[in-house]
Symmetry: D2
Subunit: 144 residues, 4 copies
């Protein structure tokens, strides 16, 4: 299996098991490629806080999910070792958020991934950086 097909397969496998991202948050897995993933989520009424804008924690959750898909996309089980987030613009009800996660560096078992969350107007609403560490095992067993 080539690495693009493998990444897609890893993404589907992870997404099928991830009740929080899929069902609770209503995220959609747009793509999972080697060192890259895209997820999408629509902001519902139930996600608003007392200022009538989307709770920042739920934007974090979208970026954190995207990070997990991007850093596991090579089929090596990989966990978060740290992260930081900057919130740049308020997010409104009905906004469609797209998060793209990209591998910036992967040296041995340690990687840095940058997640950028944009709204339907293409404006950046948050930036999340994650540091990852590979542990033992494969996400999908029995493949390269």
């Amino acid at each position: 299996m080539n690495e693009r097909d493998l990444a897609a397969r890893v993404g589907e496998t992870m997404f099928a098991a991830d009740r929080a991202s899929r069902d609770f948050m209503g995220m959609e897995l747009v793509s999972c490629e080697p060192g890259r993933a895209v997820l999408r989520m629509t902001v519902r009424e139930s996600m608003l806080n007392g200022h009538d804008i989307c709770h920042g924690g739920l934007i974090f959750t979208l970026a954190d999910s995207t990070f997990a898909f991007a850093c596991n996309s090579r089929n090596n089980v990989t966990v978060a070792a740290g992260c930081s987030i900057e919130f740049l613009k308020p997010v409104q009800r009905g906004d469609v958020l797209t998060c793209e996660g990209i591998e910036k560096t992967l040296q041995g078992r340690h990687g840095i991934y940058d997640m950028t969350v944009t709204n339907q107007a293409g404006e950046t609403v948050a930036m999340f950086r994650g540091k990852s560490t590979q542990i033992k095992g494969n996400v999908v067993a029995g493949l390269a």
Copy 2:
């Protein structure tokens, strides 16, 4: 109104409007005092990720909500200016998470708050630090 009663009133007002924390996440506001807040949340099946543990973003969300209550408790509208989180232990289905947020320093309009998330066994599962900035206005109008 003394500052303890004011903080409790601010907490109730914010919580009533915060659909994300109250309804979507199922958090409970345990207390809101001057410079301190406690929230609680039970981890449901729907909050689990593909590793069968609670999605880290939802633990972040609990801490971020607690931060908002603690830093607004003096009735000055206050927003997050930055945050960091460290995840220390996996959280399981059925775990009851309690997050306590405490003001470490408040100098002029800038504060630092430490949120500690513990499980029902008293183990610390995550630590979140938030930096806050007061802006204009009061959370509850017409009070001191």
Copy 3:
């Protein structure tokens, strides 16, 4: 004065006054352009810690200086509102570190800048992200 010349002028002015970066740390200002800056520093014996590698704080200092030049390059006085750093590789005595800082986004008064520190072999040794806020005033007075 066009914006490239202005950025260069801002860089020279800041560098002349910055005793810590220039004299104490021995940094060199390679370039200051609109939304971008490059600084360089050689790791001396005196910068080593007990593990015989460069003290992480001094790598942070190089990145933090670069951030200041990049975010002030448009001649609006701009301060750091937060930062995070990831250390990726140990740095040895004699290594020549180059830090490039790039503006990722600037929306109103708030910007995000990414600083990447590489060694003479082109390996990334640290990544620093800074969030900036413009305040009142110009770095160099009497110019556009």
Copy 4:
């Protein structure tokens, strides 16, 4: 050797080898106890940036050194796995900065340490949080 004497011995050993903290930065090791360390540094003219205040990177360096002493104080070689800093007040020439580092939690090989930097007036000027991971080996060989 009891754990207090061991921590003091670890501190002396590390400090003797740490040219950056001791000679370049001019820090003083005030104490190293189990899970706690205190370092002190006077801000010299050479540490000022273009705003005539202490370069933030050098304050970070003081806190990062204190973190290293605190997390290695039990004689298990321990490295930083991540950190964050918040700057709260400008620091002036001649200020005497004291940084106290305290272990907040140590679960297995992973710890969280909080460093607080105060000036001679007792005002908090910066807060640094570090996450540590123990690796193999002892700081001082041949002791418990």
